[in-house]
């Protein structure tokens, strides 16, 4: 009994610490704020910054239909390819990542507690097995969501018009092609003031870091 009390105390402290980590700090993001900002950029004729903020808003509120609608509208206006998500991605992003995170924590708690109580009170085995399955399901859902969202951390949006994509990471490097403003690329490496990107069509090359903006701001990436 004493151990259980201690464990409950530690868990409560953990929740407090984790919740403090999720408290607003500077800068603080909100899906609505980012969405409104993206609308402002779109109205000002800055599609790169608009798509960037829509993408950021979609990270916080993946199920918001307005964000997806405006994002698709901007992309179709610029004749950019739409990002088609598979069924796995859609299911994994049914709820916001914050809720998914807590589902994962509860899953760990449910699974572990079920195992523990099953050892202590083996007669109610069915109840503990159900709890264990529930916990594993919660953990699995969180892991799937992480697999879907993790690549987004390395994505960036082109915020300058006619951005050259070069063969070498120097300003005078031979340009291979041009990236359209508002195009989304994946950053795979960096060198000084340049990053190696891969486009949706599979092409790779070096782009000046100043011409891109990370979907997840770099100072947030620890």
């Amino acid at each position: 009994m004493k151990h259980l009390s201690m464990a409950a105390l530690i868990i409560a402290l953990g929740f407090l610490v984790a919740d403090a980590g999720a408290q607003p700090a500077d800068p603080a993001y909100s899906a609505a704020g980012l969405y409104n900002l993206a609308n402002s950029y779109a109205r000002a004729g800055k599609p790169g910054m608009a798509v960037l903020n829509y993408e950021r808003a979609a990270l916080l509120a993946p199920t918001d239909p307005d964000i997806q609608a405006n994002l698709n509208f901007i992309r179709s206006s610029l004749h950019l390819p739409q990002q088609d998500e598979g069924g796995f991605s859609r299911v994994a992003r049914l709820v916001s990542p914050k809720i998914v995170a807590w589902i994962g924590v509860l899953g760990v708690l449910a699974a572990g507690t079920s195992l523990l109580l099953g050892k202590m009170f083996p007669r109610r085995r069915a109840v503990w097995i159900a709890g264990l399955c529930l916990g594993i399901a919660g953990i699995g859902f969180t892991v799937c969501n992480a697999i879907v969202l993790e690549p987004r951390i390395h994505e960036a949006v082109v915020i300058a018009a006619a951005t050259p994509i070069r063969a070498t990471p120097v300003p005078m490097g031979d340009p291979l092609a041009q990236l359209s403003e508002a195009e989304t690329v994946t950053i795979t490496a960096g060198h000084e003031d340049f990053v190696l990107v891969r486009t949706a069509s599979g092409h790779s090359g070096w782009v000046a870091r100043a011409d891109l903006a990370d979907v997840v701001p770099r100072r947030s990436v620890r």
Binding site: A18, A22, Y35, M49, G112, L116, A160, P217
Partner: protein, 592 residues
């Protein structure tokens, strides 16, 4: 009009057997054809591979054989006759059809009045047309070859020059049309202490009358550079082919009197001969560059230069590359004009510069060299790009000079990405440019909620949050480990609690409750020990599993039944005895 056939030879072999090709006429107009004749004097010519020249069509007309008697010796030659028909106008170079024959030049004009076309190869890059009327000149000071058919002149400044300095020179080659049949190579300077750079490919052509004889004069402009100091005497060699007569003059006159193509051919004594024309020596005094006062950044540039600098933009965003340019213009040896530009400056990222040269004359003596260096600002605000310097040696003043550009002020704005969370600058335009394209428009703004996140990274990927499930998992794993290692202790504690409860009942004197409770405890203990439901524990099962103790336990169960249904109670001595029996069974169960 002068019909001269000039063959340009890239490799003249002095002792090669005589095999030559001629073209007649060497200048035609569109719609006409020329006859290309390949002649071999030492072997019979079989078929030759027709050349491929863009704009010319070749057709073999036939083979001919000739026999000549020179000084009583019979000489046989064979020829292939080829018709050359132009498809476009221009000047064409026809390569040698045999390894021993020289290339030829065919000039094709659009019409008769178009005059001489400049000497270009295969219709490319025509140079300025020659003077329309021949110039009359004085042959004094010109050094002719022995028969007066050609001359070469080297024209250069009389002053002393410096090592590495580019000295513009003119090389003039004059030939007698009809006497000189081909020019077998470009003029070359004699001696290894000089380099002759940028010899213009297309010479200026001019018709001149020298001492009453017509000459075609070709002038090449070039740049000469000395590689070491000293006094030198320079000459220029030019290989040519001339027609010479191998018979005495009286025989030649007799052959002319004979008339008729056969007899003229029989007595023909004109044969081609390769000779080298050499210019008169020109003296040149070469000085070494002074060691005193030589700047550390001097790269060997000698001449008269001016410098200026600019940037591609004076206002930019942090992270955007800006190109700093330095322009070095003037006259001199631009191949030695070099600058490291800016190596390292605070708050800027510098990249290696690259240079390009734009010449304003054909020989690269005058022009402008531009150095371009990309820079990337690392700090916002007003920045100053320092001035650039360039050192060179001026041969006029005979001193090293240092040219300096002015510093350039630029303004660096914050990065667009850093401003991504700020409202767009400028007045908000309700009529959107993007929305206007389709007419559908954007969905309206949302009401701001008080729901903020510190980071866009999903919570479950933030290390601080990940500490929570990790701690939970560790705690639960530790609990499982404790349970795995100490199951007896847990059981013994439960047993202690059960016996304490049973003892309390016994002490209260309620024997009926005691027996009922004791039976319940034992059944639970047996159920867990034997892993079977309570209802399946029968008397037979007790006999089988408990052995000698089965009788006592059966008696206790009977007393419990009796107490439950009849209310009969045993005395206190009985309760104490039964408490020991129960305790023994439960402790035995725990120790298993």
């Amino acid at each position: 009009m002068i019909a001269v056939c000039i063959a340009v030879s890239t490799s003249a072999v002095a002792d090669a057997p005589l095999a030559y090709q001629t073209i007649q006429p060497s200048k035609i107009v569109m719609g006409e054809s020329a006859i290309l004749r390949v002649t071999s004097l030492d072997s019979e010519l079989q078929n030759v591979r027709l050349p491929e020249v863009s704009g010319l069509a070749f057709e073999v007309l036939g083979h001919t054989r000739q026999m000549e008697f020179i000084n009583g010796t019979a000489s046989e030659s064979s020829s292939i006759v080829i018709r050359v028909t132009p498809q476009i106008a221009g000047i064409f170079s026809i390569p040698g059809l045999t390894p021993k024959s020289q290339p030829l030049i065919l000039e094709v004009n659009t019409d008769r009045n178009s005059g001489n076309l400049p000497l270009t190869l295969n219709g490319k890059a025509p140079s300025p047309p020659p003077a329309p009327t021949p110039k009359t000149g004085n042959a004094a000071g010109i050094h002719f070859v022995a028969d007066g058919s050609a001359f070469v002149q080297l024209k250069m400044p009389k002053r002393a020059v410096y090592v590495g300095e580019s000295v513009p020179v003119d090389i003039e080659v004059g030939v007698r049309p009809g006497v000189v049949t081909s020019l077998n190579g470009l003029p070359t300077i004699k001696g290894g202490d000089f380099t002759l750079n940028n010899l213009s490919r297309q010479p200026e052509r001019q018709e001149q009358i020298l001492d009453g004889k017509p000459f075609l004069t070709m002038t090449w402009h070039s740049v000469l550079a000395a590689v070491k100091p000293g006094d030198f005497s320079l000459t220029v060699d030019t290989p040519i082919t001339v027609k010479i007569s191998s018979r005495p003059s009286e025989d030649e006159a007799f052959a002319n009197l004979l008339g008729g193509p056969f007899l003229q051919n029989f007595y023909s004594s004109i044969v081609p001969k390769e000779v080298t024309v050499t210019s008169q020596p020109s003296d040149l005094h070469v000085l070494a560059l002074p060691a005193n006062g030589r700047p550390a950044d001097f790269s060997g540039a000698v001449g008269a230069f001016k410098v200026s600098s600019d940037v591609s933009a004076v206002q930019m965003t942090a992270g955007d590359p800006v190109t700093l340019r330095m322009h070095v213009s003037g006259a001199g040896n631009f191949d030695r004009v070099d600058s490291p530009m800016l190596d390292r400056i605070d708050h800027w990222k510098t990249y290696p510069p690259k240079s390009s040269f734009s010449s304003t004359d054909p020989i690269g003596y005058k022009g402008e060299k531009t150095f371009e260096q990309p820079l990337i600002a690392a700090q916002t605000g007003e920045q100053t790009i320092p001035g650039l310097s360039f050192s060179y040696f001026d041969p006029e003043t005979r001193r090293y000079q240092r040219a300096q550009t002015e510093p350039i002020k630029v303004t660096i704005d914050a990065s667009r990405a850093d401003n991504s969370l700020k409202e767009p600058s400028g007045p908000a335009n309700p009529v959107t440019r993007l929305a206007g394209r389709t007419g559908v428009g954007l969905r309206p703004d949302h009401v701001l909620a008080q729901n903020f996140a510190a980071s866009l990274i999903p919570l479950y990927l933030q290390p601080r949050f990940l500490a929570l499930p990790a701690t939970l998992a560790l705690l639960l794993a530790a609990g499982l480990l404790v349970l795995q290692r100490a199951p007896r202790r847990v059981a013994s504690k439960a047993t202690e609690r059960a016996l304490a409860h049973l003892g309390a009942v016994a002490r209260s004197g309620d024997s009926s409750t005691f027996f009922v409770t004791a039976r319940q405890l034992l059944l639970q203990a047996f159920s867990e020990r034997w892993r079977m439901p309570l209802e399946k524990i029968t008397a037979a099962e007790l006999d089988t599993r408990l052995g000698n103790d089965a009788e006592d336990i059966g008696r206790l169960f009977a007393l419990a039944d009796e107490a439950k249904y009849s209310g009969r109670a045993a005395d206190g001595a009985d309760v104490a005895q039964w408490l020991q029996i129960v305790s023994r069974q439960l402790i035995q169960e725990t120790s298993i």
